[in-house]
Symmetry: D2
């Protein structure tokens, strides 16, 4: 059972010293990142610039038990000082609103610190391209938390496609439906809703950046396909909203496959209905994030199979990121932790100059750039009246 | 229980004398129509032009116990002779491949006989427009068997939308996925595959005509919305296939709602995954044809409800087309029979000059024309490179 | 596709002349039997003793279009007169409350008329034994409508067990949960509730006779196992109720397998949750009546498979009782109709002296006796304080 | 969102110093306990007697980064030395096979150290009674990891029952089905299978102790009911197995409710199908461990509702043990962590002499005794031929 292998990697090899930018009191995703970092005991949080508000930064650091000296009021200061300490952080998690991703990432890469950054990568393609370049020259690891790729059955799906079990992929269907922005929550005091619907902090995409990129990335991760062109219609259904809350995209992948992506934040009755379907000449796959331990797999002309995480018929790609036996569900946090776990393996390899395990497949800065190009093309297509638009 | 009301309508009022065009030995949908007609004992099949092959027409009639005199070799002869008999048919079911729908329908309308026609209505918009006109002048009933509208929970969904329970509808999502044409079945002796992939017999649309129109019609039936424009991409994934086997359509409805339709016959692992989702400002609905006795209904901010056919919280729109108690599933044939049942009520009303029950809502020739305009616009949009195209 | 075979059996061979006892206005199951008889066009209802109330019998006959002469006020008269007519009924459906089953069945068997009887067979083991004997001496067909055995995927399950795909069966789990008697519906004017909770009309068993026998029969039908002994606890949860509304039974089958049966009419939130699970040394099966077109099948150590009616990997046992393609659900009425269809085949074989198709497997009078013994043993066990009690 | 409250409890208040008995290399549940302890940053593992094999104990400690001095070879030595250190452990997790639970718990309670013990509590009722007594006199916290009670929707279910939303409970149905012991895995080198089928290490119960007690405990936790008597049949289906691998139990609760429990380790196709159904006079609940974020709730006569973790219509009992938004699944480890979290709150309260939050509801040593009485009564009932046997 994978858990036995897992044990060997708890704590003993020396935890990675981690810092965090953003994620102070009142934030959501910061706590998720911390749990993900902690779950397999591969990291120790030792520094933070948890808020751009100095008082909140201090209080948040205290609540988390940080050394007060290392609860910084700005990420720039943190990058500089931590780089100078012999026990300084080796990696940083950036969990701010989108517009701060690139400036922070730049500062830490330049300070020689590995970066784990929330998605989307930035607020513009130009910023993203700069980060890709900087990632290369810095020689540092740059991981992007498209966390859904960490689900074991998504790994299984990717492995089945890569092994040719579906034949040639024809269709990739990607849905991500929510309902939490069905009304104008940004006016009701929801911090989450406020910045996500604000172009200054989110960038040019609303739903497409917040959830559409997740769906797009997931489709690419599993199918291995890259888009050639897309055609999109972005809609703001809620009156007065400045960014899209619904998006529908037709995709043409290189090689002839087609994609369809629908993301919405006004689909009443949906919480986080992220669903992926991939169909090829010989087989089909269906997966849903709200039931993540299962994967439907059908070979053409045979009965449908329900594969279960760590269960009969699954392979190493999913088993290696599995902790508990089949039938005991793992969830969102475990998937997120799998990204952190793989980054940890890469950092440990980097420490010793070794090559990381080829099975390590966390999303990279290049995936982040691909996501930004997807957003930019979709926004451009929609503004032009839904015309085919090259992607990157 | 609805079954009690149902009893009153069995047989006793005099069954309607029915004829059939197509549906001879080797056909599929003819037998379905016959079961649908028989299920509630409202019809008696007494004549047929069951095949254009005279010998097969005769043999098929014999197998069904028809009077040999009334097993005709051509629909034209049948229309003429039956119209002349005092005990001639009152209604005819047309269940041929698409290209024969319009010629047959024309003949029977002109002979004063009510028409129940399989979908799509015709192979061109022009034919469809002519039938609408003829429908009006003839004064005869013209029903189109978009049978999925006969499912009780689809009736419930329509009633919920009409009652304003969803608020203003924003989104209509329509999927219809199959996998039976994933390989080139039309070369392997499947009669069904042969004519459905043949433009001469199917018209300009493949998947879009065969299953896309069903999905489109269902969305319109439930939401009450009419499209203003669409943008489509039709694909023939299987090499050598002459018609589309996959279609993706963006829809703009009058009034500002948006639609998304995906229909595919190459989605491996799907049998008849016809799924409808409707989202409004106040609520959302989700329904799937493979689980037709259930309807998910969510009011914004409240828990999801699972409504069941004939069960708690459902209304007369669904109960009146329900036969058995909740938890005893009704299926495809019962939904089909509901169309026949409503046509029967309309015919009985016509017999006596009465106005049919306002709750009678079977799809009409106008719905057939709307479907043909949908197909034509989608084909045109796709050919033009996926551009917004007005619908009718 | 099975539908093509099906066509050959519509109408043409001459419909079987059918009578009905019970099932007049206000009844439930009578209408179900009539639809089941009609669905495949194998029967024609020509006579009835539809109510013991003469006026209702007459009115019910008229509503169904019966010849007034053949709308009898008593089953005895009907048996006598129909037996004397050259065009008299060949078979009768008995759909009365339980206490009338045996007297009516006796009368028709003695008149040389085939019997299709609702379950449970009778109100006592003695009556049931007499009917078995009479069934033999009469040479007539005696079918019992344990209709759930008519579901195609139940046939598939039975065939898988018979073919050894499960190895040696160890466990049979049978549940049937409803909630319609959670309150004292028998005092609120529900005719169905009245007679089903009345020992004079239902016999000694309440829930155990009404639904427990269905579950028991289904387990036996699929597993092929016969019980040696049982231990039961019957409860009347609703105050003042005279018969059990909940029953839990441990079963020991001949050969060492074990069974567990729970039936309840007070399980709030359940409509007709009839569920069967069979586990053997090599495989397992799970089926649920509310989702009847699916069957879960797992071979030990392999992924779960979801078999679908008429779909990939299914065999002739289920395909031969299937009408429409996979993904188009069939339901309760179709399953019921399969019993009628098989009885029709047996009657046609009897007409011509031929041996009926070996695949014909409708429940018989012996199955009815087994059910009565099950009820009697459960009632006795419970009264004795839940002790192991031999079954028959 | 609950996550915000959660933040305040990460790390900052000082983590609890934790030791572990058992859980060395090759074990399963030890790693689960460690993740559960770590997830919310409330504990720090600082000592262990991880194996009774000295070499393995040392190596396991090193792998986990323990100070070599605190990687003990026996729990007795660990209890003694840790109690003597100023920075000694405050709590210990006991994760050995069952027969070591009581000796280890005794040692730590006597040393004044809080105990978190895996289930079942012991291998005999006498041992369990002694631990209850010792728990009282020691004044230490004694938590039992019936981890399924930590699932948020189980908390929701318990709160609904307690609030009277179901009326008077009538029925509690408990299933726990697995298939991993369908063959004689104990002979194939599975350590897990070995000790779980060995009476010396497991006690008198096999499946009933391993999974039956979980199901029993869950039923009691949610319904609030205590059993008066039970009747059981335990079976060893696999030849040569020394303990039961299947158990079926009828339960009579105090006050008149009835229970039915089925646990099996030979139900092919089941991984961890732990399912709970509770039915009362006014409502019903259904929950399944493999889909733990959902809870079906039906009020008599109303539509079924699907409650989701942290979603619309749920209350504080579930929200307070929830970390992420609805639609992002939490799983087995999070539920387990909720037990550890509540124990942490109790320990922190004990540190300061405060009364723990009344909402803290982790299973206690008394629940462990109830479980042992359940096992003992079931074994006795079965041996006596399935007779009603008082519980405790």
């Amino acid at each position: 059972m994978a858990i036995e292998a897992g044990q060997a990697t708890e704590g003993g090899q020396g935890r990675i010293r981690l810092g965090m930018v953003g994620g102070g009191q009142g934030a959501f995703i910061g706590a998720v990142h911390r749990i993900a970092a902690r779950l397999d005991d591969r990291y120790e949080l030792v520094a933070g610039a948890l808020s751009s508000d100095a008082e909140r930064a201090r209080a948040s650091g205290a609540a988390l038990g940080l050394d007060p000296e290392r609860a910084y009021a700005s990420f720039a200061e943190m990058a500089e000082r931590e780089a100078a300490r012999p026990d300084g952080i080796e990696a940083v998690s950036i969990v701010t609103p989108n517009h701060m991703h690139a400036p922070a990432a730049r500062a830490f890469l330049q300070a020689g610190i590995h970066v784990i950054c929330d998605k989307p990568l930035s607020v513009s393609v130009a910023e993203a391209e700069e980060l890709v370049a900087l990632g290369k020259t810095s020689g540092r690891i740059f991981a992007l938390t498209h966390n859904y790729t960490g689900y074991p059955m998504i790994r299984e799906a990717r492995a089945l496609v890569a092994a040719g079990e579906l034949g040639t992929v024809r269709l990739v269907q990607m849905n991500y439906a929510q309902d939490w922005l069905s009304e104008r929550a940004e006016l009701s005091g929801s911090k989450q809703a406020e910045w996500r619907t604000d172009p200054e902090r989110s960038g040019a995409g609303g739903a497409i950046g917040d959830i559409g990129t997740h769906a797009f990335n997931l489709g690419a991760f599993v199918s291995g396909l890259r888009p050639e062109a897309l055609l999109a219609e972005l809609t703001s259904f809620v009156e007065g909203r400045r960014l899209d809350d619904d998006v529908r995209v037709l995709l043409r992948y290189r090689g002839g496959a087609k994609g369809l992506l629908w993301a919405s934040q006004v689909a009443v009755g949906n919480e986080n209905t992220l669903r992926l379907q991939v169909y090829g000449t010989k087989g089909g796959l269906e997966w849903s994030q709200e039931d993540p331990n299962h994967l439907w797999f059908t070979r053409l002309g045979e009965p449908k199979q329900l594969l279960t995480r760590n269960g009969a018929g699954t392979g190493t790609a999913s088993k290696r990121v599995s902790r508990v036996p089949p039938g005991h569900p793992e969830g969102y946090l475990e998937g997120f932790a799998n990204i952190y776990g793989e980054v940890a393996e890469a950092i440990l390899a980097a420490r010793s100059g070794a090559v990381p395990d080829a099975a390590v497949t966390f999303p990279s800065v290049e995936d982040g750039l691909a996501g930004m190009r997807f957003i930019a093309a979709a926004v451009a297509s929609s503004k032009a009246g839904s015309v085919w638009t090259p992607v990157g």
